[in-house]
Amino acid sequence: MRQLGLSAAIREGIIQEMRADDSVILLGEDVGKFGGAFHVTHDMLDEFGANRIWDTPISEAGFTGLGIGAALTGLRPIVEYQYLDFIFCAMDQVVNQAAKIRLMSGGRAKVPLVLRGPQGATGRGAQHSQSIEAYIMHTPGMKVVMPSTPYDAKGLIISAIRDDNPVLFVEHKLLYGAASPGGGKALSDSAIQAIGADVPEEPYAIPLGKADVKRQGSDVTIIATLLMLHRALAVADQLAEEGISVEVIDPRSLVPLDVETIAASIAKTNHVVVVSEDTSRAGVAAELVATINDHCFYDLEAPVQRLAAANTPIPFGPAAEHHVIPQVEDIRAAVLRALSE
């Protein structure tokens, strides 16, 4: 089958939805003639024109609000942030408006809005490297989608666009892939597995809230998203050679979360490691640990291992960044800890 990188897969999903549905529009900085900072919107202006591809000024709060107003009046806007770090400029619009309008209106409003952009630590310093999903995951009314492979990305962006709720669609810079139009900008990571690169040409939707077991195993479960998912798979490869069978689960969306798939895995393996690139304190991994304790406590033979970024702004220096973000060796050590207790 044809292979695509992550950004090309997202791009294809957006283009197909825009062809199928005139109400889908795109707003963001440099999404038009420049084709997006990471080229996800490459050449879309040529096909869809300026009435659907809106190259905005640097006004994140403003254009997020525009997306909300358009969503309330019959459109399905996709708002791109050049880096997800910039969404903080628009937090009132996201947290107080987009997320709350449906409840505040007693269910009379719908806000079909996709907020998407790249995140992740890639040597760019503290303001272009963080992982922001926990902030949004904490906000009722928002959905949070985390594609780790091109196949998932295409199916999930299509579902996100079709969803009647505001959805944060999180892309990882290191996963965009060399085969993508913006590949030249992406750094590489030796742990990135070539999984899920076979992407069907026709449109398809992957339901939000459906986890994927990326690798079957029987001794221990790793739950991970985005880049961490690939590192977890690398660890699973290593440990297989040492006779340890690792199951790797990709939740694919954090809200809604597929607790059933996670619980079924833990019922089988009785040991679990959760890995996330966002900050450890009050983060995604913390929430997953709590959820596992709520649902799976009596299936556990050892405490859940939580592995996440250190509680610090992401430092620039490569050695420091490497230290702060969970690496393959850190995940491996966490798995061995889980199994040794």
């Binding site: 000024p57 358009a70 309330l72 107080n96 409840l103 009379r108 719908k110 009722p140």
Partner: protein, 335 residues
């Protein structure tokens, strides 16, 4: 330029105006006034949960603006939004039921005074974070452009909101793209206790439009006909594809900021002077002066408005209370 216009107490100039339109505006202003007067008493008796912000004295802005719109044009409102809803024909029964946190309320008892919404009337929502509705209305204008619907979107906000970044971001984009948007600064001269002179380096707020090369107007916000006329021009411009307009309507918040807030930061004589500039009485006097209505006719409208609100209270009190788990149905939409 001075931050205040001369306080005008003279009758509204109604000569040559359509009496039916004037009477409708009079009626709507009275309904908005009566709605909020009754809320005040209901809060005093503790019959009503939560809080509310009165626009008593500012009704001519809401009614004058909305009277120049089509029913399918859209508006965004603020925490001080009852009059905007009344002007936009949101049913008073549902509004009052919402105030009482009833299931039959405009927002099924989930929004309350500060979040009144009615999409069927083009009322996109009351957004109670200052300045937050400005880009949302701008998005409705962008959407009207994309869909080719011919609709106009209006954002109401106060003098305090012009110092939020969203004001600048949204007006810039609207002007850049000639969107069919109208921005109404409902300048009631106080953001809680802070005056315009204390909060804005340039107290002539309409003048900010020049930063966006946007047409603007400064009108007497207690003259409903003047507000209507300024809005009509802005609507014509927007529908013709000639872009947005900024209108500063100078008015006065007769009551405190919220509920029983006493507004002791304002000089007594200033409040009294503005009470004499009441927009409803000025319109009544204008209609009489122009022989477009009789005292009897106006009194009948007054009685009608009182009755409508009385009925709304009775209706609301007969409605069903929100129950503990109602909210579960409203957090996210099922596709």
């Amino acid at each position: 330029m001075s931050s205040t216009l001369e306080i005008r107490r003279d009758p509204v100039d109604c000569s040559g105006r359509d009496p039916a339109l004037l009477l409708r505006m009079f009626h709507r202003m009275l309904e908005a006034r009566e709605f909020e007067e009754q809320l005040y008493y209901l809060f005093l008796t503790t019959a009503m949960p939560g809080t509310m912000h009165q626009a008593v004295g500012q009704e001519a802005v809401a009614v004058g603006v909305v009277s120049a719109l089509n029913p399918d044009d859209t508006i965004t409102s603020t925490h001080r939004g009852h009059a905007h809803c009344v002007a936009k024909d949101v049913p008073l029964n549902e509004m009052m039921a919402e105030m009482f946190a009833k299931r039959e309320g405009s927002c099924r008892g989930m929004g309350g005074s500060m979040h009144l919404t009615d999409f069927s009337k083009g009322m996109l929502g009351a957004f109670a974070i200052v300045g937050s509705g400005i880009p949302i209305a701008t998005g409705a204008a962008l959407s009207a452009r994309v869909r080719g619907s011919g609709q106009v979107a209006v954002s109401f906000f106060g003098d305090g909101a012009v110092n939020e970044g969203t004001f600048h971001e949204a007006l810039n984009m609207a002007a850049l793209w000639n969107l069919p948007a109208i921005y109404i600064i409902e300048n009631n001269q106080y953001a809680l206790s802070m005056t315009v002179a204390e909060s804005s380096a340039l107290p002539d707020l309409a003048a900010r439009a020049c930063a966006y090369d946007m047409p603007s107007a400064r009108v007497d916000g207690n003259d409903v006909v003047a507000v209507y006329e300024a809005t009509r021009e802005a609507v014509a411009r927007a529908r013709a594809g000639d872009g947005p307009t900024l209108i500063e309507a100078l008015t006065y918040r007769i009551r405190g900021h919220a509920r029983f807030e006493a507004a002791g930061y304002r000089p007594e004589d200033e409040v009294e002077a503005w009470k004499e500039a009441d927009p409803i009485e000025r319109l009544a006097a204008g209609m009489i002066a122009a022989n477009l209505a009789t005292e009897d006719e106006l009194n009948r409208v007054r009685a009608e408005a009182e009755k409508t609100v009385e009925d709304a209270i009775e209706y609301a009190q007969s409605c069903t209370d929100v129950e503990a788990e109602d909210y579960l149905a409203y957090i996210t939409a099922e596709n």
